[in-house]
Symmetry: C2
Subunit: 189 residues, 2 copies
DNA sequence: TCTTTGCGCGAACGAACGTTCGTGTACTTG
DNA sequence: CAAGTACACGAACGTTCGTTCGCGCAAAGA
């Protein structure tokens, strides 16, 4: 449960993310959610629109987080290789700071209703294209070894997926060690 | 659909894996499954026990596949580093050869009923411990750079998770390139 | 030929689902 | 004090779920 002062609406969003993370969106019921908040199911609807809308909020909140990150990154005056490192560092920090929300974002987006789903996939595509371009540039500039950029992109992004699933009791991995492990083999020097 | 001669029971298992992959276990219904097989829902139960049992079969079939792989690997006369490379190669091949089944195995195991869930987690624990030991040995033998073995394990296994999700139309990644990308930075020479 | 077996089917079951609606109540505002 | 707002609630809705049961038919075995 959530302690301290907090609006019921905020509590619902936070607990929904936790519930969706634990059980998955489809297996999580509004009755589950109400129980955890010590509310009756019908009371939820004084604060939220629908179960689907909870998922949309969680997914797009994070999609926009990553979108903003990419814009901010592209505006930096750095080499492409340094931008990639910057992005990866932020990915690690985001995954460790918002694990529940990011788990839902990563694993449950396919349950979005058709219109939202399309928009979501579009946003991800833009992000991945930008990321891929940076990888290509870093290779052309000679900072990274030559690889299929799409292969590298998929591998890099995939390799971080365990971070947000970490048990709350687990000792957090060191950011520098993760970066070292991911990038050392990519660099050409 | 599935062409050629095949027992109805086998068709059900194959189509169930596809359905669970597409929609997720909880969101997939037995009516969906029956539709795809051009059967009525009740007819499924002439061949299978329950929906849960379908999931159990898929998950443990793969758990045992990996268990056997590990036993076979440990029996090889190779350095620890070479064993790790061997395991990773097999992981890639398995993911590309059985993408639907492996997706269900990777993503849907948490919907197993309590008893099966416990057994499944136990099997995974054993596998990961063996893998982790190999990584430690490879570091002690000087073939791999020194890292927290658990960090390396999580990163390596995670980094392959995109393979089994690949669209059937996508061009398959080259096994050697993936191995190179994963291990180059890990090796100490 | 008679009997058994395998299996596809329609109908129906109880349970759980997301959600709506009208009500009661406790604050806030004028 | 009166009016309005916010919100928790019980009851109920229509739907979908996994599954069971008994029936009928066709192929296989004696």
């Amino acid at each position: 449960m959530i302690d301290g002062f907090m609006l019921t609406k905020e509590k619902i969003y936070i607990e929904a993310a936790r519930l969706f993370q634990e059980k998955g969106y489809a297996a999580a019921s509004m009755r589950d959610l109400a129980d955890r908040l010590e509310l009756r199911p019908s009371s939820l609807y004084s604060h939220i629109r629908s179960k689907e809308n909870l998922l949309e909020k969680i997914c797009f909140e994070n999609a926009e987080r990553y979108g903003a990150l990419m814009q901010e990154c592209l505006a930096l005056e750095l080499t492409a290789a340094a931008k990639v490192e910057y992005l990866l560092r932020q990915h690690i920090r985001i995954a460790l700071k918002h694990p529940t929300s990011i788990t839902v974002f990563n694993d449950e987006w396919r349950h979005l209703p058709p219109v939202s789903l399309k928009r979501f996939i579009g946003m991800r595509k833009v992000y991945e294209e930008n990321f891929c371009t940076l990888l290509s540039q870093a290779m052309q500039e000679g900072h990274f070894r030559s690889f299929d950029p799409l292969l590298v992109l998929n591998t890099l992004l995939s390799s971080l997926l365990w971070l947000h699933r970490l048990d709350a009791r687990a000792t957090l991995p060191k950011e520098d060690a993760v970066i070292d492990l991911l990038l050392y083999g990519l660099r050409s020097t």
